[in-house]
Symmetry: C2
Subunit: 198 residues, 2 copies
DNA sequence: GCGGTTTAATAACGGTCATTATGAAAAATA
DNA sequence: TATTTTTCATAATGACCGTTATTAAACCGC
């Protein structure tokens, strides 16, 4: 007996998921969460416990709703198909919702509160500057024949930056130097061969 | 005229840089900063302005002290040397200081406050699980001849995860789908060829 | 309809955040 | 030495954080 719950727990969880996806864990305040969910604070506490428990539930739902392509890919016939499918799916997911781009797992530690927005823009700009410098250097290399005419300097720059970002994340996660070197080696093995000058 | 400053502004800035490198922008409180710098709060405000200005100064010093390898690499003769030098240098920097690993620019939005540590561990674990799944799938592929015997499944998994992390960061920074696809294409072009079965 | 029980909304809690007012201490000029 | 100027340390500020009493409302079995 007792009073019935007046809100849909699933919908509230989905709303919280969107907020966490966009703002990360720290960046999402209860003011944000209650505004998105349309319920008051104590309702979230009674239904999910504290903030960390709510985040864990949202993370589980994220895997459930959006990361199904991982087990899906693991069943494909070849490793190349596995990788291609995961890459494609991740790109699709990362760009699917304009209001919460990227991956919730990464954004959970990437995004900050609104107060930190100017700082995040500084970092984004700093990242873009480095990539532009690389792209310009690769354009020069292409003009000099150091890279083939088929090479795409912007793609090479973006790719190199991606691997660098990824390795920074991995280093933070405790990776050893050796495995990071293996990652770098693998990345370099894709490098376009320089043209044989006539 | 007037009283002299009793602390070394450079040393205080270096101390603040270490705190920001480890905890990120939001994660670094004035309690952390003053403890590391050995000066009181108002000293930081009088010397640097507010927290954001202090972070900007620390970021500039980070580039000055630790990212000199980027312009250095840009002057090398070939694109491959540029990339190799940047990769090597980044790995060295990311693993140089045990107490603040990774890259300050990335960590600035990757690291959270101590309160968020359990959550960060959850995300790190979630990341490791996905990578393990990939590695196991690639080991199977190697056993099946889908990957050559020279292939390193752990390296391939780490590499793929690195590119995925990097693309998530880039998507957050506003990258278009097209450039992300170019990044994925470049990453796949390094994929080891399957063995020709006899 | 009534007692027991669960949920709902309001409002408050202590703690920490970045920031700063305040007044004492120290150095330079006169 | 007296005065001015700058830095120093203590401690307070208002705002926001996550969390929770408290009280009123809604539902159940009886």
């Amino acid at each position: 007996m007792g009073r019935h719950r007046e809100f849909d727990v699933g919908k509230v969880l989905d709303a919280a998921l969107c907020v966490f996806w966009r703002k990360g864990y720290e960046g999402a305040s209860y003011a944000d969460l209650t505004a998105a969910a349309g319920v008051e604070r104590p309702a979230l506490y009674s239904a999910f416990g504290n903030k960390e428990a709510l985040f864990r539930r949202a993370l589980a739902r994220y895997y459930e709703l959006y990361l199904g392509y991982i087990p899906e890919a693991l069943q494909l016939a070849t490793a190349r198909e596995v990788a291609a499918h995961i890459l494609d799916s991740a790109i699709a997911l990362n760009t699917r919702f304009p209001e919460h781009t990227g991956c919730m797992v990464i954004n959970g530690v990437l995004a900050g509160s609104d107060d930190a927005e100017p700082v995040r823009q500084i970092l984004i700009e700093a990242r873009a500057v480095a990539e532009t410098q690389l792209r310009e250097r690769f354009e020069r290399a292409k003009a000099e024949g150091d890279l083939p005419q088929t090479a795409r300097p912007d793609a090479l720059a973006a790719f190199l930056m991606a691997v660098l970002h990824g390795m920074a994340v991995q280093a933070k996660a405790g990776f050893s130097r050796d495995i990071l070197k293996a990652v770098a080696e693998q990345a370099l093995s894709a490098w376009p061969a320089s043209e044989q000058r006539a």
